[in-house]
């Protein structure tokens, strides 16, 4: 079954960021070619954005309108008296001009643009707001108006051209173009992308359903990614906090364990980074990696921490019940001969077994004078802040951006810490078994890990919505 297509032509003067805009909308840095010079795009190149299995949005990139003054002059002087031009209007004038395209080889690129104007549902007219307002842009808009298609002026590079936005808006209003949108294909904002689709929905009322589906799909995709990214960050924090290495009480052993700790945490961060990049469709080369400064702390068992006591209570009770269950089973085999005694013995054994499983390592380490090295609070704080800044940077990075994102220069705000930060860390540190590389024999308690990750993810979601 053929898909229902909605097509958009992206046009504008040379070097206004047409290809950059498309790259950002497509989240695809491989689309087209970009360079800081005119005439970089020479083909009309299209790409499909998937709405669902039945609908696509097709976006066409076009060469820049580099000679609009000459083009307008010729179009305006093109005769349309021929009987085959029924309406004798501006569309006919464009058609008549296109018929004579072989006479104007110097306008070859512009003719491609005109064809794109006539064959698509909607026009994005891209403006580089950093540029001064010149009369030739009015000529360009006049040519575009001949195609009688809805036009959305896209004010591009608004971050760098803030001072000029008002002038451009006033100029566009004089040309009866009020439905413009602001965008920055380098410093990306998802809300701006949504505005483009909302404007499209307003202008193409007969395609409302299709555009509504597109808006829903893009929003869902964005939220899914954000939520997955938050899960990754939460998992990283939990695993990095849970990561610990045993060392003997001598310098060499501590130094080896410290090295292992650093490698382990950097490896965890690197894995998360790769996944975050993949989620937001960036490549490893888009980032300028900088090693996390890691300081080790020391972890000691505090059986009397409230969290530990609570868990200890649960474990003892549940192990007692399980042990008692085994005891009852023994009773059954013994046909009730020892009923009660076996259950009680089983209960005590179960409780002891649970305690041994959970705290043996720590107690043994404490007796033998071993130390457990783990990442200190400040390291985890920096790690956390770095991931949040990275996520924010990835969400605001357009796919047209050519500068590398530097982890070193990310704004890691160290002052704001979540309310339950210490509780999270302490809970994670009690469960070295949550990190595979710790090779701990302790019970996995995966559900508790999932619960903690969920709590942190919920915090991140609330942070975002605030």
């Amino acid at each position: 079954m053929d898909k229902q297509l909605l097509s958009v032509a992206v046009v504008g003067h040379a070097n206004t960021g047409k290809t950059s805009l498309i790259r950002t909308l497509l989240r695809d840095a491989s689309f087209g070619e970009i360079a800081n010079k005119a005439g970089t795009t020479r083909h009309v190149e299209g790409a499909e954005i998937r709405i669902d299995e039945h609908q696509n949005l097709v976006i066409y990139d076009t060469p820049g309108l580099e000679d609009s003054m000459h083009l307008l002059n010729i179009i305006d002087n093109t005769p349309i008296e021929d009987s085959k031009f029924e309406h004798k209007d501006e569309i006919d004038r464009l058609l008549a001009f296109i018929e004579r395209e072989h006479e104007f080889p110097e306008l070859n690129q512009e003719i491609k643009v005109l064809k794109a104007l006539l064959t698509n549902d909607l026009i994005f007219y891209v403006i580089d707001v950093r540029e001064p307002i010149l009369g030739k842009y009015r000529d360009e808009l006049k040519i575009l108006s001949y195609a009688a298609k809805p036009i959305i002026p896209v004010l591009n590079f608004i971050e760098a051209g803030t001072t000029n936005i008002d002038n451009w808006q006033a100029q566009l209003a004089r040309l009866h173009l009020h439905a413009f949108v602001s965008f920055d294909s380098v410093v990306f904002r998802f809300a701006d992308e949504m505005k483009i689709y909302h404007k499209m929905r307003t202008l193409l009322a007969h395609r409302e359903e299709q555009l509504e589906a597109l808006i829903q799909q893009r929003q869902q995709q964005w939220q899914e990614r954000e939520s997955a990214a938050q899960q990754l960050i939460a998992t990283l924090l939990v695993e990095a906090a849970a990561c610990r290495f045993k060392a003997d009480n001598d310098e060499q052993s501590i130094s080896v364990a410290s090295e292992h700790l650093q490698t382990a945490i950097r490896s965890l961060e690197s894995q998360t980074l790769s996944q975050l990049l993949a989620l937001y469709q960036f490549k490893q080369q888009d980032i300028d990696q900088y090693d996390l400064p890691i300081e080790q702390g020391e972890w000691e068992l505090d059986l009397f921490s409230s969290d530990n006591l609570q868990e200890f209570g649960i474990k003892v009770t549940s192990n007692f019940v399980k042990g008692a269950g085994v005891g009852v089973a023994v009773d059954i085999f013994a046909a009730g001969m020892t009923l009660g005694a076996a259950a009680m013995t089983g209960g005590v054994m179960g409780a002891l077994w649970g305690v041994k499983q959970r705290y043996y390592d720590e107690i043994e380490a404490s007796i033998k004078g071993h130390r457990y090295l783990c990442a200190d609070d400040l390291t985890l704080h920096v790690l956390w802040a770095r991931q949040l800044s990275l996520l924010s940077a990835l969400q605001q990075r357009g796919h047209a951006s050519v500068n590398k994102l530097s982890l070193q220069h990310l704004d890691s705000n160290k002052d704001i810490l979540p309310k339950y930060w210490s509780k999270w860390l302490s809970r994670a540190r009690q469960h070295p078994q949550w990190v595979t590389l710790n090779k701990s024999d302790q019970p996995k308690l995966k559900e508790k890990k999932v619960l903690l990750i969920e709590q942190i993810t919920t915090y991140l979601t609330s942070l975002k919505s605030n």
Binding site: L26, E45, Q231
Partner: protein, 493 residues
Amino acid sequence: MSKGDRLVDLYQHRLITEGIRIIEKPSPSNNFNADYNHLSFSDALLKRTQLAELRYQVGPVFLHFQYLIKLFCALMCVVFLCVGASSVSHFLVSEKGSQINFFWAIILFIVPNVISLIVWVFLYFKRYAFNFAWLTNLSVSIIGLLDTFHHKVNTKHPYYTALFRYYFEHRFGKYMGKAQLSFISHLWWSSYLLGATLSLLLVLATHQVDFIWQTTILNEGAFLWLTQTLTYLPELLSINVPSPSDVSHASIGIINPLQAAQDIRVSWSNLLIFSLMIYALLPRIILLLTFYQRIKSKKKHFTIDFSLPYYVQLKSLLHPITNAHFIKDADQQKASEEMKVNNAHYNEALVLPEKMYPFAIELDEKCLKQANSHIKAHYEEPLINILDNQSQQAVLSQLSSSKAENIVIYVDVKRLPDRGWLRLVKQCCYESNVTVYLILLGEQSVDVNSSLSVRLQDWIEIAAQARISTENITYLINNNSLSDDIKNEVEIG
């Protein structure tokens, strides 16, 4: 295929998809390409699973685990059946084989069953009561052993342990663990009780036994109350059960001399078998069937958590935002028109000719002021600044009427030279003897601004295409702006 089969099939597919996730994690592989574009995400995932399964072979591994767990459960069922059967002959019937202590029978079969049910209810409704790690490790060992005995081969799937852990977690973990463990527990209890019931039937069918009751610390009233409670239901169903006087007479040492002894034996047998079946076996079987249905429903409703980062990434792979790039209107012209100039040379001491026609192209206010102040020594009229079609036509018309042999063009060095500019300059050279001078206006030296230097290079390259000699090109720095800058610096300093 029936709807039920389809659901089972879907469950298997989803399970395999999860198995593939375990193998591929943390990120999905990009190797299973197909046309997923026309499919919804769940259908696309199903298709990918089919493709990936050809390589990973997760399905047979899961089926093998399923078989091993079934085998283990079945073996344990047989064991419990035997234990139940043997417990009757070992612990119920006295050495002489002529008496059964009814009180002991009830304690032996029904009370442990009730205690076990209470423990089960406690565990079933308590959160975190299960700690599966030790159970998983134990099961991996037992099932691994069973596997080795069964197959006598050691070649395993490379992800055998990881897949087993996942499978075990899936079957006995948060999602369906309680239902599954409850089912197994009731199954084994049912086996035990069934073995005991069958064995009891066999004993009663082949032996003539008298029913007695014995107690040291309990009084007769307690036993009477218990028996009366147990007989309540069978009496409702008109089954012959012992009367209160029969119960009193069944105390140890009292041998019933009456002719009705056989009837009393039958009534006691009825009560014992009925109690075993109705109070012990039946609840277990009902619970067994309930949890069987629960497991089926859990399997039917088993869904994959698509919010996991793995699936979000997979979604991007199967349904990328961009489906395809394609060229619609290819460029047929040769792109070799550009002339590369290695060094951006210009004439720093350019002397303008006396007779000339000057104009500006796309200058902003500041540059236009700079151009006007430069030209006023040579030309009286104000410069025409080409900004649109109208001003361009005006310049071309004046140029054509003036028959000027020298043309001076002012441009802003910061602006991007394009084909429009090139075409205009070429159009201005209406005769071969026309000489064009290009004056680039700027505010800074190109030595201090690299992007300006690149732009200057662009201008000199395009000028070369317009056949403007580098001798006729110059770069003017706005002294006012420079002095403004210096002034600012001084003020700031």
